[in-house]
Point group: C2
Chain length 419, copies 2
């Protein structure tokens, strides 16, 4: 923009302050990572293991059936107008049908379409809690939860996940955080950044605690069904007899199209505890910005039901192969302790600074790994836990191999007793 | 959803209340219109003049170039991942170039992509004001402004538009509303529901008042350039030397694709009053739900620059022809006083209840018109002014003619002295 300096306006008109909600909308990943000015090693090609965007390397892309569905939909004269702000009936019916079981039938009225799972989470948090209330969040956990709560003036209370028990919830700790301003418990399963998939029994215990304290559950189930062999995914809303559950999901991960911004809230409310309050509240909140892109909504039935099973099997195979490879490889690396994920697209790896000559913590590890090896991961302090780092498992195998090789060499170089 | 009645949970667990923000997210159109249970006349085909969705009848559709651009973009492997939450550089560059003039150059950094103009407005309001602050809004005005402010806990203060002066702003009234909690003035030009297009001089006066009181402007310019012959559109941000302006716009109206949910904020800030505050604040707020659909972002340059001028000329012609036809026709109708719009896609028509035998006000007019004539309009009380109704001007001419015919007969039938 051109700059006209007239009448020394800056002297009389001070900078316009941003609102509290804007000032409190902090992305810890950007806060921590963007402020570090780091230059990768120019001699080595950059390998990104940091961003949860599976399309980055081109080995994972949306199914061709989904692309065809978009191309078909955009040519319909009927899909360019305003849809109802909570989504078209057809799109909501498709989501309801996709997640129904023979013994658990969802209806279109139980579904609200959103602009990605992020928007679903925003609406659920905004609808359940007032400023000054609190919501219980997992730690380590996806950083958007904190971003959203702080932006909305809602207190964050973090319950511990247990690294030595497959990242299950420390239920005693969770329960100790509940007070009379607690409005909901957010549970992320399968989880980012841990890659945990909770067994049925653990989920039932969580539901029990919520029932005891009359707390609804926000279930972030964006990685629903994204589980490795020998693990099984359970929807909280299906397990829960009495606790109402808002399940947040979307196309982003399952159909490898995070840029499309299509998500949903599935309302599980067997006892109508949300019927006249939260359910219309969510519909009202959706009217602030209206629903997701109408073309993608028109394509949704096709995307959900015409994509062959083999597509998703291939994605899961790639993720699991990467997980197994990284796990086996990094067991060899001095100072590191990988935990084998059970699902989702991430692995958390523990760093033992005492085993290194000159690595102080996860941030230090992260910086030196970029500078020396041109590999970007994420220090898990951005997720609220120190001395771990997170890598994504969606890279092509040759990048994964190269990355592991470099990480091992890096650790050996920095290890106290050179092996 | 199935209903399992176990353990009489309703007795012990009360319905879960919705938050204040959800309870305060009220759409006055839905509030007023949906609550009236009205049955159209089964003998007459329904004609909808109520919804601002130009695609409804198929006579206005997005340009084929836009459809081609989507079809091309969706086949690119690079457009399915996460874009920056404020939009891709390419898309922001396209918007900046589209609205630049030879003597006023916008840069991509001045643009934030949003999920429709609604989302742009939400972000601007949220970023400029805290709960308890106030924003000045036009009356009559687009109802979303009230919905958003109330949802965010921001006080609404309404300045009058003058029906007998082409719906210009009553500037004295506007100024009288300003107090120390006023954070911005929202100006909608060309306007919904009035169809006003403000002359340069009027806009300069508005800017002057804002400068005097150090108030930034939120300019809702979604109908930018949508003006009829002999009128000219001016961007507030280009006219304003000293007052920072957030201009909200989007594809919805200009490219007849409101369902696509692509909008933007263009930041006009010649003196850097927003630089370290509002500008990063808006970028941070965008990280709550991330930007609009990535495929449409990838298609944006093509949509904005390959659509021939003739496309938009045809749209404008249809709107203007409809406006002129309706204006001339309804001048004949007893009890009605149409105002000729200067742009946008709407006309406000005054109702003089004293000239009717049995029509109490705009809501009564609206109800009886549906019941007897199967024509839906909107009572302007939903926009904050009584005894007007709004019709949309995007219908095919044959529907417009039929609708005018029926409205005239309706008015004649209800007029005090049958003509
Ligand atoms: C746990 C979790 N929830 C929600 C999201 C956001 O999903 P979306 O892209 O659909 O907004 C992510 C994205 O990484 C995630 O990891
Ligand atoms: C004045 C005005 N502003 C904003 C909007 C919302 O535009 P969008 O569909 O891009 O959110 C409308 C839609 O009717 C409008 O009339």
């Amino acid at each position: 923009m051109e700059k006209h300096m007239t009448s020394g306006i800056e002297d009389v008109w001070q900078p316009v302050p941003a609102s509290r909600s804007a000032r409190n909308t902090i992305n810890p990943i950007r806060r921590i990572v963007d402020r570090m000015k780091i230059t990768p090693n120019p001699a080595k090609e950059m390998i990104s293991l940091s961003i949860g965007d599976p399309t980055h390397y081109g080995n994972m892309l949306p199914p061709v059936e989904a692309l065809e569905a978009i191309i078909e939909a955009v040519q319909l004269p009927t899909c360019h107008g305003y849809a109802p702000s909570f989504g078209t009936l057809e799109a909501r019916r498709a989501v309801a049908k996709f997640w129904s079981r023979s013994d658990y039938i969802l209806k279109p009225e139980d579904v609200i379409l959103t602009s990605g799972c992020s928007h679903a989470l925003e609406m659920c948090i905004d609808c359940l809690a007032d400023p000054g209330d609190n919501i219980l969040l997992p730690q380590p956990g996806f950083s958007l939860y904190t971003t959203l709560c702080q932006s909305l003036g809602i207190e964050t209370r973090f319950y511990d996940l247990l690294p030595d028990d497959d990242w299950k919830v420390n239920i005693t700790h969770l329960e100790s955080l509940i007070n009379d301003r607690t409005r909901a418990v957010l549970i992320n399963n399968p989880s980012n950044p841990c890659g945990a998939v909770y067994p049925e029994e653990h989920l039932r215990k969580l539901i029990e605690i919520c029932e005891k304290h009359h707390l609804p559950i926000i279930a972030d189930e964006i990685y629903a069904d994204m589980v490795f062999s020998n693990h099984k995914f359970y929807f909280m809303g299906i397990l829960s007899e009495n606790v109402p559950v808002l399940s947040c999901g979307g196309l982003s991960k399952r159909f490898i199209c995070p840029g499309w911004r299509v998500g949903w809230i599935v309302i599980h409310d067997r006892h109508n505890l949300f019927k006249d309050t939260i359910k219309p509240g969510l519909a009202d909140l959706s009217s602030r910005i209206l629903g997701p892109n109408s073309v993608t909504q028109a394509a949704l039935t096709h995307i959900l039901f015409e994509t062959p099973d083999s597509y998703y099997e291939d994605i899961l195979n790639q993720l699991q192969n990467n997980a197994e490879y990284v796990y086996r490889s990094l067991l060899e690396a001095p100072g590191l302790q990988p935990t084998m994920p059970q699902g989702a697209m991430y692995m958390l790896i523990r760093i033992n600074p005492s085993e290194f000559r000159d690595i102080a913590d996860d941030k230090d590890f992260f910086m030196k790994l970029i500078c020396e090896e041109s590999i970007s991961c994420l220090p898990a302090s951005v997720f609220g836990i120190d001395n771990f780092f997170r890598i994504v498992l969606s890279t092509p195998m040759e990048k994964t191999e190269e990355a592991c090789q470099r990480i091992i060499e890096f650790c050996q170089r920095h290890a106290k007793s050179v092996s």
